[in-house]
């Protein structure tokens, strides 16, 4: 009887793994990170190979509109020499993105060209690709194994770009993602450059449920650049999700206020 039970449990496990394909897991990950709107305060700590650090503080707001365009506004509040600098990006689903930068010293809002997704985000070790949401059709997701990370059970998934456009624009040949089973967040990601070298490692800690929402967020994100020995730590607080942000907030008018 015990043997039958063991076989039954084994079959159930196999069934579960098969049911939870890499794509299925990433769909749940995508559902966890996508929101209608979201705001948060962020402290960015940049540390170079010699241990010298610089700190940037920003407030970030984002919203998705009815046409699936995503707008983000970022305001720098520290250090003082960049305080007031603001950035507005509108990611269009049907054409090139619009981006504007307001520089208070020049009292001027400048349209700026879209960044390559492989560009670093404001001098950090994160690229725009690392921080953006991904189209799940652009990658193949293979479950390599199950493992633990920081005592949490995870699916280990290999993500490889498959569409010609993504193969061309991405900075990576593959990523190894550790997706925590409890809330489907990527708690660790190893990035491999186009030559297959492991170049960066991303980890998250301080994972908490956001009040008044069904979402969970990491409050500390760390990206280690293994090539340059730079590290960027993002410390988040004051998360607000699906609070009904006004679309007027995401305008050139508001950028200059």
């Amino acid at each position: 009887m015990k043997t039958v039970w063991n076989i039954a449990v084994l079959c159930l496990c196999i069934y579960t793994v098969q049911a939870q394909s890499g794509k299925d897991i990433m769909i749940k990950n995508d559902a966890q990170i996508r929101t209608q709107d979201e705001s948060r305060d962020l402290t960015m700590i940049l540390t170079d190979a010699k241990g010298r650090s610089r700190e940037r503080k920003v407030n970030q707001y984002s919203i998705n509109d009815a046409e699936d365009n995503r707008s983000t506004i970022i305001r720098f509040s520290a250090p003082a020499d960049v305080k007031g600098t603001s950035f507005l990006a509108v990611e269009h689903s049907t054409r090139d993105d619009d981006q504007w930068l307001y520089l208070p010293a020049l009292r001027k809002t400048r349209r700026i060209s879209s960044s390559d997704i492989t560009d670093n985000f404001v001098g950090s070790d994160f690229t725009y690709e690392d921080l953006g949401t991904e189209d799940l059709e652009d990658f193949s997701y293979t479950v390599l194994r199950e493992d633990t990370f920081e005592n949490a059970s995870c699916y280990v998934i290999e993500a490889i770009p498959i569409t010609p456009e993504k193969i061309k624009e991405t900075g990576y040949s593959k990523r190894i993602l550790y997706i925590r089973k409890s809330e489907y967040l990527a708690v660790k990601v190893d990035y491999f450059d186009k030559k297959g070298n492991h170049t960066k490692t991303f980890t998250i800690t301080d994972i908490r449920k956001i009040p008044n929402s069904d979402k969970t967020r990491a409050h500390i994100l760390t990206m280690k650049n293994l090539r340059t020995k730079h590290t960027t730590v993002l410390r988040f607080n004051n998360f607000k999700i699906n609070q009904g942000l006004d679309t007027a907030l995401f305008s050139k008018r508001n950028l200059e206020k």
Binding site: R52, A80, D81, R111, S113, D119, R253
Partner: protein
């Protein structure tokens, strides 16, 4: 013309008052956040590679800029910025100066700003034919900081869909600041002049006070702009009706026993500017352009004492390159500036309104890690064959504390704008702490 003289006792009194006020505001800030306090302290040194007699051959100055901004209402706010500057090498530059002081009122579809303010129009970089509202501090022609001077004005922006309509009223005229006679940037008058018969005669030049528009509402100026952002393009058309911020010059020549006396008469004239600008991007490239038609009082080019009307346009392309030598970023912008005199007359580029006639301008910024930025910018005018180059390195010592080392190099034939200053090559050191 604007003057900045402040007596030293008053200067010290005002400094004491402002510092006391700042401390009070700091204490207030700790209690609540109704006010945001900021500003910077800057130490600035300049050495010229060659010295000139009877000129100020260095700059050794300190600046304290204090700024306060209200933060307790979404319907209005006020902002005030005061600059305190002391120059040990040129006490005439010491001043206490209101940089900006204004109140913002936010209505449903309109924003109104009242007070002393700097209004910046134009999509191009550095050279902006549509940007004519504020006068400029040209006392040091090579200062690369934004040297626009605030004007007392009422500015309204009305928002309708994708369009924004701007209206600006400047009730009283204020002109740009020009170099004083002891400045390296003041071109000395010649000691001889050519008489009608071709002979050279000794000359004594005298510079008269600038004849300016009335210092009341009879010199009111206004500007209008309609701007939009549609389909990935930012565009605007604009109109300015007022006065040139720079004088035109005429002269009276009086024969004397030993030669001639020449009295130079600067005068401010009326000016209208019709403008258009745009910016867009395609992939990683940015494109921008600006056109201005400067309609002076002499549209037919018949009066030698007034600038002829002219067109000036700027077109440019920029791009950000990532991961250049390591993981450093490089930003490059190149612009072409062309000026067309409506009468077809040839005008010297020594006139401040005609410096850039057929010029290429370029700027490269190379970010070296998280702490340093190398910048190289310059211009060359193909018509006047003169140039200006400025290399610069900025090092971020700590958060908010920056050290900048830069140099200015000028070249060209004599009687070209930059050629006239080819002995003004110099090095500059700036230490700035922002708080």
């Amino acid at each position: 013309m604007t003057h900045y003289h402040t007596s030293i006792p008053l200067f010290k009194l005002v400094v004491f008052f402002l510092i006391t006020t700042v401390v009070s505001f700091c204490q207030a800030q700790e209690v609540d956040k109704k006010y945001r306090l900021g500003g910077f302290v800057e130490l600035d040194h300049i050495s010229y590679f060659e010295t000139e007699e009877d000129k100020v051959n260095a700059r050794n100055q300190g600046i304290v800029q204090l700024e306060v901004e209200s933060n307790f209402s979404t319907k209005y706010k006020f902002f005030g910025g005061v600059e305190i500057r002391e120059d040990l090498s040129d006490p005439d530059r010491s001043r206490v100066f209101i940089d900006e002081a204004y109140v913002d009122i936010y209505l449903k579809s309109m924003d109104i700003r009242v007070g002393k303010q700097i209004i910046t129009w134009g999509e191009a970089d550095a050279i902006n034919p549509t940007n004519n509202i504020n006068p400029v501090d040209l006392s040091d022609l090579s200062d690369t900081d934004d040297e626009r001077i605030g004007v007392y004005a009422v500015q309204a922006k009305y928002y309708v869909g994708d369009f924004t309509f701007h209206g600006v009223l400047i009730p009283v005229y204020d002109g740009s600041v020009l170099p004083k006679s002891n400045s390296r940037w003041f071109l000395d008058f010649p000691t001889t002049v050519a008489l009608p018969d071709g002979q050279m005669a000794p000359a004594q030049f005298n510079l008269a006070l600038t004849e300016e528009p009335a210092a009341d509402t009879r010199s009111a100026q206004f500007a209008l702009k309609a701007a939009t952002s549609i389909g990935g393009w930012d565009m605007s058309v604009s109109y300015f009706n007022g006065y040139d911020d720079l004088p035109n010059y005429s002269q009276i020549v009086t024969p004397t026993a030993t030669g001639v006396d020449v009295t130079v008469l600067p005068k401010i004239h009326e000016l209208e500017v019709y403008g258009f600008d745009f910016s867009t991007s395609y992939g990683s490239y940015g494109f921008r352009g600006e056109l201005g038609y400067f309609k002076t009082e002499d549209t037919k080019g018949e009066d030698q004492t007034i600038d002829d009307s002219f067109f000036q346009y700027v077109v440019g392309i920029d791009r950000n390159f990532s991961n250049i030598i390591g993981e450093n970023n490089l930003f490059v912008i190149v612009q072409w500036v062309h000026q067309i005199i409506e009468s077809g007359a040839k005008v010297p580029n020594t006139n401040l309104n005609n410096i850039f006639q057929e010029s290429i301008l370029a700027r490269m910024e190379y970010q070296l890690g998280n702490f340093s930025t190398l910048t190289l910018q310059g211009t060359y005018d193909f018509k006047a064959e003169n140039y200006y180059v400025q290399p610069e390195i900025t090092y971020e010592i700590s958060d908010g504390l920056n050290l900048t080392v830069l140099a200015d190099f000028f070249g060209g034939e004599e009687r070209t704008f930059f050629g006239n200053y080819r002995t003004n090559n110099r090095a500059q050191l700036k230490l700035k702490y922002s708080f």
